[in-house]
Structure formats: C-alpha cells, structure tokens
Amino acid sequence: MLLLDCPCCGVRGEETEFHCGGEAHITREGPASDDAAFEHYMFERVNPRGVHFERWRHVAGCGKWFHAARDTVTLEIWGTYPAQTTRPPEEVLETIRAARPGFKWRDIA
C-alpha cells in the first residue's frame, strides 16, 4: 500500500484515493518535432525496478494532479511535489541519493 501526501490539499491518503497517471516529466513533442522525437514521446516509457517518477491525481480528494517519486520495489515514497515543474525538486533528489546512492532515472541522477 502506498501512502501519498497530496501537495495540493495537504492530505495524507492511501493509494485507493489516488490514481496513477503514468511516467512523469515527459516532454510533449509537437508537430514541429522529427519522427524520432515524436516516437520517443508517444511510445517510449521506462519501467524501472527501483526509483521511479510518476504523475498522480488525487481523484477522491481535491482532484489535483501532482508528482510522486517512489520506489517500485519497496513502495517507499521519496516525496511528492507540485505538477507545475519539469524536474523533481532538489530536496526530493537528495532524499533519493541518500537512500539509493548512484540511482539513475532517464537523465536524472
């Protein structure tokens, strides 16, 4: 079971109150992009064993989207942070680096 802290309404909720929206920090390529970049955006997702960054929505609560950094093996939550960002905040990364030295997720390490 995941216990997520919604950064929008401050509620600590259990995962059935939320809905996962898939991988976070995806650059959405537009019509001007080349085929390779668009394919990468459209189809290529990581499915890591370990540290992962995801989008979540507080469906049964405030209804807002946010980001969560978690471990897909141990179900630890490293932190939740607002949706209005393209990169995890440094303090969340510090927490992960301390717990999982040398972790790498896409270009984030």
Binding site: C9, V11, T16, E17
Partner: protein
Amino acid sequence: MSDLTGPAPVPALGGAAFDGYVRIAEAPQGAMFTLRGDLSSAALKTAATKLAAVDMPEQGRVALNGERALAWMSPDELLLLAPWAEHASVVAQLDAALDDPALNWVDVSQARARFAISGPDGLVREVAAKLAPVDFSPSAFTPGSFRRSRIGQVAGAFWCPGPGRIEVVCFRSVAEYVFTLLRDAARPGSEVRLYA
C-alpha cells in the same frame, strides 16, 4: 426550469434513517453551492464568508454556523451550505457578487445527498472509518475537520461538527448506495470499538 417552478425538492431517500449502534439519518433538503476560483480573491472570499456568516476556513477545514457552513474543498474550490429557505436569496446574492468570469459558482443543492452519523463519539468515528481510508481518530479528525475521500466505491466528504457527530455528503445518484453502506456499517453487533 422545473426546479424553479415545480414542487419543493425532497431529499434523495425521503429522509431515510436507521438506528443501529449509531444513528444514520439523511439530512433534510438544504441549499448547497460549489464556488470555484482563486480563493485569495477578495470577491470570492467576501461573498462566501458573508453568505455563510463565518470566517474563511483553512485548508482541510469547515467553518460551521448552525445550518450554514463553508468548507475548503480544494485549493480552488469551496462548498457553501445554507438552509433551503435561503436558497433563492443565496442564488441572487452569488449571482450579484461573482460577476468576474474567473469566479464560478453552481447550485448543487439537488445534486448531492447528505447524511449524519450520530451517537457515542468513538462509535460514530468507527462507522466512518469502516468505509473510508481516513484517520478518524479524535486527535486527527477534530471538530471542524473536513475531508474528501471515497466512501466504499464512490466519492464523498466527511466533516465533524462536534463530538458524537460526523456528517457525510455524496452525489445524489449514489445516495442509496452510501446509505446502505452506512446502515451496514452501523448494524448492531458489528462494533469494532476501534476508538472506544
């Protein structure tokens, strides 16, 4: 606009009630409004607090004043409750006060169902805790707390007006489902005494 010209609206289950180890009772028809917009905007704050005659609730709280209440629903949403007798006047006042297109309100009086769980405080909390993944302990869910969550499989919200009472609001279309869940949770003999 049959809701303006037809007979006065009735609650979804006709005021159903069940006496188990706590009492589950459907609340009489009230007026309920969803207000959306920037909660720091003076126009929205003034209109909402004036109509409910309360101070602005903090995050996760409800400000209660008899049959009137103002609840913090999300960073850009408030829920305003008033007696049905004031429905027309609240509609008129909201219409006049919220003329900014970025501030929205909608009348949800007939889109919701409300229930009250009442009885011994520990048992009331326990019945709510059976149905929602929320910490209903007296230290976490204090009087004035407002919490949106799920009730069984549907969305709902809980608030605590005071010891021995928890109020529940859900969509009217699932009123019977929620009442059945509450009734089942309050069935005599199913006491857990979690907070006793």
